[in-house]
């Protein structure tokens, strides 16, 4: 007799059934009802499902060059520092008399003019670190640059504000969990492709080639958890089981909607939109794209990536609007650092500091905000930051996710008014 007849029976047998007695002993009796009952007792917020706010984070790995993304086109110092790679003023997409977007971001420029985008300038942190890994860790854990925190800022949000809730409160697209999700108790689902969550038909053996050419592609960061390896695996198995049937089902049901570009980011955002449309209780989605480490021959490389980002975000925002969900979504982009003001000898740029962030959504206070960093008053050749990224996080936590930011970030950062 065959052991399993369907995908579902396989999942039950391997994760729940045959193996269940010893892979997931205590958890299995805790149904959704009991999980949600536990959440109902939590004073902070239990909002999940159709009506609550959602945060979508797009990580740009490798250090996106902020000055060629949001361009100070009226400033001679910009062109003096970048004789080869400076973007000519006549081609840029102007936001005002001084600041413009890269010509490869036409859709973001349109969203800006339609009042659905905030461009936050000069975002960074004190004592900047120019290592990809360390700086990404700082952004993902929201730590001071001279301190190490093992849990991520979203992991601490899960730990503090979402205990007892569905493990799919956070969903990360990709096989690895970003360190931002690291929590005392693992919370969150990593998912590359809903097909991976089903009984492996493996009819897709084609290779993935995601790297666009930089030596920094993925920057998932370390997965940290207080559980020992055995119990960590046991817990992940439970979380996967609890979510897998629903996710596959939703993803297969919500297939209509606008066409998306072929890039990995666009495909990831399409899946996110399907999950939102399907009513997943998820509050935080996390997607990323790599290749921004442009030490050499930057112009073409970065602009190709920006074009991909722009097209992916255009399809995603249009889709959310059609679903009437754009008002309850905020999309935030970030990178671990910007790049040096002056170009290097390889028509590229080396690691730098502060950079702009984009925030998109139907309920934002839109516009160009933050203080443009000076191009002449520099610190070791780099921009001085004007907005601490943790103020952006605190604003998103307090005003968007309605979670107390001081509890998550350990102190009060000034709140901003983009929401």
């Amino acid at each position: 007799m065959p052991s399993f007849h369907t995908r579902r029976s396989f999942l039950r047998t391997s994760i729940l059934g045959g193996a269940v007695a010893w892979t997931l002993p205590a958890f299995i009796d805790r149904t959704f009802a009991s999980l949600n009952a536990a959440a109902a007792g939590s004073a902070i917020q239990t909002a999940t499902g159709k009506d609550s706010t959602i945060l979508v984070i797009v990580q740009l790995s490798g250090g996106n060059d902020g000055l060629n993304t949001v361009i100070p086109y009226s400033n001679d110092a910009y062109y003096r520092s970048r004789p080869t790679i400076g973007v000519p003023a006549k081609t840029v997409l102007k936001l005002d008399d001084h600041i413009a977007l890269n010509p490869h971001l036409p859709n973001l420029a349109r969203l800006f003019s339609e009042g659905q985008a905030t461009v936050m300038q000069g975002v960074g942190y004190p004592n900047p670190n120019r290592s990809h890994f360390r700086s990404m860790e700082i952004w993902q854990t929201a730590s001071d640059s001279n301190k190490t925190i093992s849990h991520g800022w979203l992991g601490r949000y899960f730990d503090n504000c979402c205990q007892g809730q569905d493990p799919a409160t956070g969903i990360s697209l990709g096989d690895q969990m970003p360190q931002a999700f690291s929590a005392a108790t693992p919370m969150g689902i990593a998912l590359r492709n809903p097909r991976q969550f089903r009984f492996a038909d493996s009819d897709d053996t084609e290779m993935q080639s995601d790297n666009e050419g930089g030596s920094i592609d993925g920057l998932a960061g370390n997965t940290k958890s207080d559980l020992d390896p055995f119990h960590y695996i046991e817990r992940v198995a439970l979380d996967a089981q609890v979510s897998s049937d629903r996710i596959t089902e939703i993803a297969s049901r919500h297939r209509d909607g606008p066409a998306y570009p072929k890039s990995k980011l666009a495909q990831d955002l399409q899946l996110i939109s399907q999950l939102i449309a399907g009513g997943m209780p998820t509050r935080v989605y996390y997607a990323s794209m790599g290749g921004f480490d442009t030490h050499a021959n930057q112009r073409g490389q970065q602009e190709q990536l920006l074009g991909q980002l722009d097209e992916a975000l255009a399809a995603f925002t249009a889709d959310l609007k059609a679903q009437k969900n754009f008002d309850r979504v905020v999309i935030m982009t970030f990178s671990e650092f910007g790049r040096r003001v002056a170009e290097n000898g390889s028509a590229g740029t080396d690691h730098g500091t502060a950079a702009p962030m984009f925030l998109l959504g139907g309920s934002l206070r839109p516009g160009l905000t933050g203080v443009t960093p000076s191009l002449t008053d520099l610190m070791e050749g780099d921009l001085k930051y004007t907005v601490d990224f943790r103020s952006v996080y605190a604003t998103l936590l307090d005003k968007w996710l309605h979670a107390p930011s001081t509890k998550v970030l350990d102190r009060q950062f000034p709140l901003l008014n983009f929401i």
């Binding site: 990809h132 690895q176 990593a190 009984f199 084609e206 998932a220 960061g221 390896p229 198995a237 290097n344």
Partner: protein, 476 residues
């Protein structure tokens, strides 16, 4: 020297542990033979070569191989369409070669003629993590792999010098674009941050000055080999780590290796790869001293680790999460089957999160808990079904034929199928590398008790799959 373990306390449990950490594990009979060598005999056996290896793909012997991608740059009279076509074809050839390269290397691990050598080559690959996705030349990736293997159990000093001249590395970290007056910092930064000292043990000025010293290390466009180009080297004085001089790349390597921190940094990484994370300060002090005193020879360091009490302590035993390469090679060894053929091999490794020759970034793979997410864990459990063949009847798996044949009667012998206790013990030894693991033995008994008698091959495969779809099988 770390406090050594008493050779008379050497158990078969220890033998299984050593074989799985210093290699990729082994079937019960191999663990038994390894145990019989005694502690010192077993440790020394790890350093001995084991006869003929599968040769690398034929194109590695062809001196014109690295030219594939570059032939298109010699395009001459080609028009744009022809150039694009030539470029596409070259990429295809390189991709195909990469598949062959991966099969070859994983094959060496699976054959197990010198498991420690391959295990450490994998370590150094993760350490000097270089990816084909930017290098784009399979020949360079193979060359680097052989260089890492040549020094894997030998001199770290020589390996580091070789990496400053390695064509794959030169392309990967933009050394070829660095020149006097316009140094590119990418390589210099990663040398200090990731390859030798660790973050916080150098200054931004050290990076800028170091980058000047590395100028001139390039790939000769005609021979496609390393060349030192005098005309782009910066011959000026550099101030590096408190010293001033007309330093070149080798000088920088010497100055870095003179720092105690370098021995400490490397010794810690080796320890964490083989034993456990965050070693006690006393352990770290000792192995760092061993490494430094041996002038960065790797063998004495490995020997002292494998002979130490700490390596066999509860902190070490069965606490490490297997990486995907480790997991797959170990599963195929336990199932007595060959590795999946291409392209299934690549598809599996890619989705599990560890494609050799394509690390995610220059820091290599994070390892530890980051190997396991809901996505990869579901996949591991599913793959156990694929590898054991327990899903045969309903499988619509295109890859099916690409999987090695499993002779389940060698894994679950007929003679044991009617004897649940003996079968449980045999399977636990096979899948967990030890004959004594009471928790799993009890669970294997439970699984067998739920299986209808008599146990046919399909049921036997399902039993194996259930033992592999457990947290314990993800650990070593």
């Amino acid at each position: 020297m770390l406090p050594p373990i008493d050779p008379s306390a050497w158990t078969i449990d220890h033998a299984g542990h050593l074989l799985s950490r210093a290699g990729f594990g082994g079937p019960p009979e191999q663990i038994e033979a390894f145990h019989k060598l005694g502690l010192h005999g077993a440790v020394e056996a790890l350093f001995v070569g084991g006869g003929a290896q599968t040769p690398p793909p034929a194109w590695t012997h062809d001196a014109s191989s690295p030219r594939t991608e570059f032939n298109m740059t010699m395009k001459g009279a080609m028009n744009d369409d022809q150039k694009r076509e030539a470029f596409r074809q070259a990429r295809q050839v390189e991709r195909q070669r990469l598949l062959e390269l991966r099969s070859w290397w994983l094959g060496r691990m699976r054959e197990g003629r010198q498991p420690l050598l391959e295990k450490m080559t994998l370590f150094w690959h993760g350490h000097f993590a270089t990816s084909f996705t930017k290098v784009n030349v399979a020949y360079f990736m193979w060359q680097q792999n052989e260089t890492l293997r040549a020094y894997a159990l030998g001199s770290f000093h020589e390996m580091l010098r070789a990496m400053t001249r390695d064509p794959a590395m030169i392309r990967w970290l933009d050394l070829g674009k660095s020149k006097a007056g316009e140094p590119n910092e990418n390589f210099a930064r990663e040398v200090m941050e990731l390859f030798t000292l660790g973050e916080g043990h150098y200054t931004e000025d050290d990076i800028k000055e170091g980058a000047r010293a590395f100028t001139g290390h390039r790939i000769d466009p005609t021979t496609m080999e390393f060349v030192f180009q005098r005309r782009v080297h910066d011959y000026g004085d550099k101030k590096f780590m408190g010293r001033t001089g007309n330093f070149n790349a080798d000088d920088i390597v010497e100055i870095i290796l003179a720092q105690n921190q370098c021995a400490r940094f490397i010794a810690q990484r080796v320890w964490e790869y083989l034993a456990y994370e965050d070693p006690e300060p006393a352990v770290l002090d000792t192995i760092a001293a061993t490494f430094r005193d041996s002038k960065y020879e790797t063998k004495p360091l490995l020997r002292s680790i494998f002979l130490s009490q700490a390596f066999y302590s509860p902190r070490a035993m069965r606490t490490q999460i297997k990486g995907p390469v480790d997991w797959l090679v170990n599963a195929c060894i336990a199932l007595n089957t060959s590795l999946p053929a291409q392209p299934a091999l690549d598809a599996i490794l890619s989705r599990l999160g560890q494609l050799p020759f394509e690390p995610p970034n220059v820091r290599g793979w994070e390892g530890g808990k980051s190997w396991i997410s809901s996505s990869t864990l579901v996949l591991r459990y599913n793959l156990a079904g694929y590898l054991t063949g327990s899903r045969e009847p309903e499988a619509r798996v295109v890859n099916q034929r690409l999987r090695g044949p499993v002779d389940i009667s060698r894994v679950v012998p007929d003679s044991l199928r009617s004897n649940p206790d003996a079968l449980a013990d045999a399977l636990v030894f096979r899948f967990f590398g030890t004959p004594k693991f009471p928790k799993m033995q009890q669970r294997a008994r439970d699984v067998i008790a739920q299986t209808p008698q008599p146990i046919d091959d399909l049921e036997a495969a399902a039993i194996c799959q259930k033992l592999m779809s457990t947290p314990d099988f993800q650990l070593t």
